[in-house]
């Protein structure tokens, strides 16, 4: 048959807990701002969805510089959830994103249960399509990660947020734990509609001349291809432990990477650091993934997701 049949765009359509994405590629939180900057470079409506920068109840200044360091095949960041606050997001950024017809994932962060629930409550009546609960940010002292590292805390916060959340609730998991599948099960039991993973791996680098940490915050989150094998392993572990959809991420920078995550069990993927090094990563990776589908004669994504064979 002609290639057209396989390349037809509707092959890419992905259902993510009831929300229709035109393709399974999502811009990862914190690497894409609120979309405006990349929209100057290309039409960002090519993305299946956009997960916006982590939102807190009040504006946050973030950590002092330096906030970035390079390492082999990856980078450390310690932005520290700098954001204008959820209300400003709803007022100034969300209308524009929604008007573009984009599926918007609001990444919610906080440092107390009350803050998380209040952020999600304020988003409840907004046009945000999905809430991504970030209980895995390694870059703020009080925040997030505390909730993400034990199954009982992760379950409790998910349950509390679930009560006020009107959109599908996706919980973003931290890789900085010994049993990520256990945490995934806990948030599923508490009512999560999906899980996304992985957030960054905590790391640090040292400047040998000054003998100081390179990052002003001392530690930061490692992202990029360096973490991809860890992420794929965790996607496999989690997808075999839960029934809810798994959104995979960590170092994805090619169409082949997308396919690896999906074969390992991801229903959709997020792309973060690749945008930082290659501003055209979104459309490029989408094109590569479409070619992969054609070459492999895949006309139904569900035959790819979780299709990992035993060795």
């Amino acid at each position: 048959m002609s290639e057209k049949r396989f390349a037809a765009k509707d092959v890419l359509i992905t259902d993510l807990c009831g929300v229709r994405l035109k393709n399974p590629l999502i811009a990862a939180s914190g690497t894409f701002g609120f979309g405006r900057e990349y929209d100057e470079l290309y039409d960002i409506s090519c993305w299946g969805a956009i997960s916006v920068k982590g939102l807190t109840l009040h504006p946050r200044l973030g950590n002092p510089p330096s906030r970035i360091a390079e390492s082999a095949s990856g980078m450390l960041n310690s932005v520290g959830l700098q954001n204008p606050g959820v209300d400003v997001f709803i007022r100034d950024e969300l209308p524009w994103l929604s008007a573009r017809g984009l599926v918007v994932i609001a990444n919610a962060a906080g440092s107390t249960e009350d803050e998380y629930t209040e952020v999600v409550r304020r988003l409840a009546d907004s046009p945000a399509d999905i809430i991504e609960l970030n209980i895995s940010c390694p870059n703020v002292k009080e925040g997030g990660l505390l909730f993400g590292t034990s199954p009982s805390c992760a379950g409790a916060i998910t349950k509390a947020v679930r009560r006020v959340c009107r959109q599908p609730l996706m919980v973003k998991l931290s890789p900085n734990v010994s049993d990520i599948a256990g945490i995934a099960r806990a948030v599923e039991d508490a009512g999560a509609d999906a899980v996304s993973l992985i957030n960054t791996l905590t790391g640090m680098l040292v400047d040998t001349r000054t003998r100081r940490p390179v990052l002003a915050n001392v530690t930061g989150g490692l992202s990029g291809p360096a973490i991809k094998p860890v992420a794929i392993r965790m996607v496999r572990d989690v997808s075999s432990a839960v029934k809810v959809p798994v959104v995979g991420m960590g170092g994805i920078s090619s169409g082949d990477d997308v396919a690896q995550f999906m074969i390992a069990g991801a229903s959709a993927v997020m792309i973060g650091t690749a945008n930082i090094v290659d501003p055209m990563a979104g459309p490029r990776i989408l094109g590569e993934f479409e070619r992969f589908l054609v070459e492999e004669k895949i006309d139904d994504l569900s035959t790819l997701v979780g299709s990992l064979k035993a060795k």
């Binding site: 690497t31 701002g33 405006r36 100057e40 970035i68 930082i276 501003p279």
Partner: protein
């Protein structure tokens, strides 16, 4: 389609080929690159945009994960040739400086906000204040100012004789005070005491910019500085490149890549 100035000057991913390479000073290399249409620019059918003084290119350097920000040190509108002056500061800049002529590079360009060239007119003259490699963007600013027949006076400081570059070029545009191994802002303040200063454009190490502010503030002299911070995306989305800026409510972080790199010196923190 591409009509407004904004579109003409909007960043695109482009490829460039190094067509010449000159050893400018110890550890400093000048590269001339020819910009080929980036794949996106080609798709849009647009000509590449003309960069302005103060803007930078975010260059993918072979062997390094992140791009490296480098100022536009010159651009020829006719030929589309871009000049970059790079100091070997570490791994990435050294790799860039070591590339042979004929090498092809991917760059994201032009980025950032330029020096306010249009303001010079109301001051009648521009004073360039540079420390070391900080001269790179200012050579372009000085050239453009001189092309507009605006008076240019320069103050440049270098660590030692072996690091001096660009001075003869600056002399074509106007008088130059060269300070080797000393403090360039001291010379600047001496001259300011006898001569009405122009609008100041500056770039250099943070201590020099901090000293510059101490010279300018009490005299009410206006200065714009180009700042450096470690960058990720270079386009304003990842928030890693922030610097502290004074704001109406005290203090805020601004993005060096997208809100800068050029800032009014009176709003910069220099903690």
């Amino acid at each position: 389609m591409m009509s407004s100035d904004k579109e003409l000057n909007s960043p695109r991913e482009r490829t460039a080929t190094i067509i010449s390479k000159i050893h400018a000073a110890s550890d400093v290399v000048e590269l001339i690159m020819e910009i080929n249409e980036g794949r996106e620019a080609a798709m849009l059918g647009s000509r590449f945009s003309s960069p302005l003084p103060g803007q930078f290119a975010h260059i993918a350097v072979p062997g390094s994960f992140l791009r490296r920000p480098l100022s536009v040190a010159g651009f020829d509108d006719e030929s589309g040739r871009l000049r970059i002056i790079v100091r070997r500061a570490g791994k990435g800049s050294s790799a860039l400086a070591s590339l042979p002529v004929g090498s092809s590079l991917n760059l994201l360009f032009p980025l950032g906000n330029p020096f306010p060239m249009e303001l010079i007119e109301s001051f009648g003259k521009v004073w360039i204040v540079a420390g070391g490699i900080g001269l790179a963007p200012l050579l372009f600013a000085a050239r453009r100012a001189s092309q507009r027949r605006l008076a240019v006076r320069s103050f440049v400081g270098f660590r030692d004789d072996t690091h001096v570059f660009g001075v003869e070029e600056l002399e074509e545009y106007g008088p130059v005070s060269l300070v080797v191994g000393g403090v360039v802002t001291e010379r600047l303040s001496e001259v300011m005491d006898r001569e009405a200063p122009g609008l100041i454009f500056a770039c250099g190490p943070a201590p020099m910019l901090g000293a510059l502010r101490l010279v300018c503030a009490p005299r009410g002299v206006r200065a714009f500085v180009s700042l450096e911070e470690r960058m990720g995306c270079g386009v304003g989305a990842c928030l890693v490149c922030n610097c502290g800026i004074k704001s109406p409510d005290g203090f805020a972080y601004k993005r060096v890549c997208a809100d800068g790199p050029v800032f009014d010196i009176s709003e910069v923190g220099f903690e």
